[in-house]
């Protein structure tokens, strides 16, 4: 049933979805800010262990939809939503879903690096601590070390774990934020333009990291850079004016887009 729906609504279902169960499945999602509709009847299936990129011009709703996946939009009073977003088949907007627990399964990395003004160690340890993931100090140390290793930051900071997280460089801060998100052991990582505040070298470093993380996580990345989408993602979704115009395998999307709007955007005619 899910596959039928996605075949119906998604203009071009990516090939990759034919052989996989979707980790995230959105159905008929509408999101409004007050009366203004930001997302228009959107349905999409997103697979596990792959990077899906959301591209589109500013204000097209890609960030809004991303934030719907871990219910970050709940914090905006004027924001209202209809439809379903399923994580492993379970609608995360059901009454019995706890938003705090949900966010421990769906981590998020923000546009601007936002480490807590605390030590590097505390930044990573905070999540596991509030979720009670570590029995004792040694276990917590291990979680922190593993998260930092997975984020490729451990070697750089192992001698200064007590230094403030804000003392790191921009790229290091963003990797710290990724480590912080990984530390609570999520299944999905949402990234909202994670490289927009970084220089090209730091960006390349993060992109490598995203490629490594793909082995273990379902990653969704919102990006303004089509080159970045082409480099890191296996699937690309093009948003325009609140609608999902086209969704498909990245290599196909960039070589032979189906929709004229996608083609115009990719070739730089607008956006």
């Amino acid at each position: 049933m899910d596959k039928q729906v996605s075949a119906l609504i998604t203009p071009s279902a990516p090939r990759i979805m034919a052989e996989r169960q979707p980790r995230i499945a959105a159905r008929n999602v509408n999101i409004y800010y007050d009366e203004k509709r930001a997302i228009n009847n959107l349905s999409i299936d997103i697979p596990d262990k792959a990077v899906s990129a959301f591209i589109g011009p500013s204000g097209c709703g890609k960030s809004t939809f991303l934030r719907a996946v871990n219910r970050m939009n709940d914090t905006i009073p004027s924001c209202r939503m209809t439809g379903e977003v399923r994580l492993d088949g379970k609608n995360i907007y059901d009454r019995d879903v706890d938003v705090v627990e949900l966010r421990s399964h769906v981590g998020m990395v923000f546009q601007k690096p936002n480490p807590f003004p605390k030590s590097i160690y505390e930044n990573v340890a905070y999540g596991p601590r509030i979720h009670g993931l570590a029995k004792d100090k040694a276990a917590l140390d291990e979680i922190v070390e593993n998260a930092l290793k997975k984020a490729g930051l451990f070697e750089e900071v192992k001698d200064r774990m007590t230094h403030s997280g804000t003392s790191l460089s921009g790229g290091q801060q963003q990797r710290l934020c990724i480590a912080r998100a990984i530390a609570v052991n999520p299944e999905v990582i949402l990234m909202d333009e994670p490289c927009s505040a970084l220089d090209p070298i730091a960006t390349a470093r993060i992109e490598e990291l995203i490629d490594e993380l793909r082995q273990n996580f379902c990653i969704i990345i919102v990006t303004h850079s089509m080159q970045q989408a082409a480099r890191v993602s296996q699937l690309t979704a093009f948003f325009h004016l609140g609608t999902l115009v086209e969704y498909g395998d990245t290599d196909e999307m960039f070589t032979s887009p189906q929709d004229k709007r996608t083609q115009d955007y990719i070739t730089g005619r607008f956006g």
Binding site: M72, M108, P117, R180
Partner: protein
């Protein structure tokens, strides 16, 4: 545009700029001058009040007059007066003796009494003791007034040593009708008790209200209405709070009149808006990305606020609280309404004892005709200003210490 008109315009612009700078400098100089004049004037008037004059005389502690079991009960005043007159055999007439007595303070024997209570072995001996001179003699010696009998005083000074000492009485005594004995201890303790109550009530309630309004409350017409009224409350004249306290705490609840606990309640209401507004501003200044980061790793709303947002806002909250505290210390009008304006000689020992506070003490003393009280008024102002300056210094220190950048 030709070259010359452009240059003229440029010259005009520079002239306007330097004029504006000059206005700023003049304003600054005027304010500094006023402040300096105020402080210097108060210091000049208040400085003498920190000193007193004492004469050293021999007093014979007659064993027959002092009960060893209860040395405090003896008539030291009589003994001191007798010894005092005995120092000056020249003065024989009734009038002269009276003039002699007038040079001594009512409490001239207090120090001697303390000496004997501390060391009963002195009984039966002749001891050297210092006796406090009256305010008139004191003022004459400080060159502030000629009211004392000059001739008598000159003779006395020729025969017994009279010395100037720091007047700790000013800080350790309660209020008194005798100018040379009046001290600030009662007012200082009253102020401390009152402000402590105001702080203990105002800070937690104010911070809790600010956290709720800023972080949890839904943004609707009701909270907008609340916000407007909190701002209005900050602008309500303080005497209105006093009237409210009188009607509510004294008349309705029957709480004790003149008590620091009631004063503290009224001042808590008075500083609440200040604390709420300052705390809200401090909370608002914490970047929302910090809260989002906490929510993003699965912290609940409350955890995000109490683990991250509030600690980061704390320096601002504390600064607001201390400024509110400084306002509470200086507040007079509302306390007049709840009866903290009475003459109270005893130093308050608790929150329900009758008390007065520093600014009210200043108000009371400034009304008294004696010259010494005028000087003591200025001295009390100096003490109050010193307290307020140190509170502000603490506020600045806290802000500098905990200030963070992100």
């Amino acid at each position: 545009m030709t070259d010359t008109t452009y240059k003229q315009r440029l010259a005009k612009r520079y002239a306007a700029e330097s004029r504006f700078k000059a206005y700023g400098a003049i304003a600054l100089i005027l304010t500094s001058a006023f402040l300096l004049y105020l402080l210097v004037d108060i210091a000049r008037k208040g400085w003498p009040a920190f000193f007193e004059h004492r004469a050293t005389i021999d007093v014979t502690l007659d064993a027959a007059q002092i009960d060893v079991a209860n040395p405090g009960a003896a008539d030291y005043s009589g003994m001191v007066k007798e010894s005092w007159r005995a120092q000056f055999p020249d003065f024989t007439s009734r009038g002269d003796k009276k003039k002699l007595n007038l040079l001594l303070s009512q409490a001239a024997s207090d120090d001697l009494r303390q000496q004997v209570i501390a060391n009963p072995a002195l009984i039966g001996q002749t001891v050297k003791t210092e006796v406090l001179l009256s305010d008139e003699a004191d003022l004459y010696l400080k060159g502030q007034s000629q009211e004392a009998d000059k001739a008598v005083l000159e003779k006395v000074m020729a025969m017994v040593p009279v010395e100037r000492h720091v007047s700790w009485r000013l800080l350790t005594n309660g209020d008194s009708r005798e100018p040379e004995l009046a001290g600030l201890r009662g007012a200082i303790m009253g102020s401390l008790f009152t402000v402590l109550v105001a702080l203990l009530l105002g800070l937690p309630i104010g911070v809790a209200a600010a956290v709720y309004l800023e972080q949890f409350a839904p943004k609707n017409r009701w909270t907008d209405f609340l916000e407007v009224n909190i701002n209005n409350l900050a602008a309500v004249p303080s005497i209105i709070f006093g009237l409210f306290g009188l009607a509510m705490f004294l008349n309705l609840f029957g709480m004790p009149r003149s008590a620091p606990v009631v004063g503290g309640l009224v001042l808590a209401l008075l500083v609440l808006p200040t604390i709420i507004i300052a705390s809200r501003a401090a909370l608002k200044a914490v970047p929302p990305s910090i809260k989002e980061a906490a929510l993003g790793v699965g912290a609940s709303d409350q955890q995000a606020v109490f683990h991250h947002v509030l600690p980061l806002a704390l320096p601002g909250v504390l600064t607001g609280a201390i400024l509110g505290l400084a306002r509470a210390f200086g507040e007079t009008a509302p306390l007049l309404m709840i009866g903290m304006v009475a003459f109270i000689a005893d130093v308050p020992k608790g929150f329900t004892d009758a008390a007065t506070v520093l600014p009210v003490q200043i108000y009371l003393w400034s009304d008294l005709p004696e010259l010494t009280f005028q000087s003591k008024t200025a001295a009390a102002i100096m003490v109050l200003i010193a307290i307020l300056f140190s509170l502000n210094a603490v506020a600045i220190y806290l802000r500098k210490k905990f200030e963070r950048r992100w």
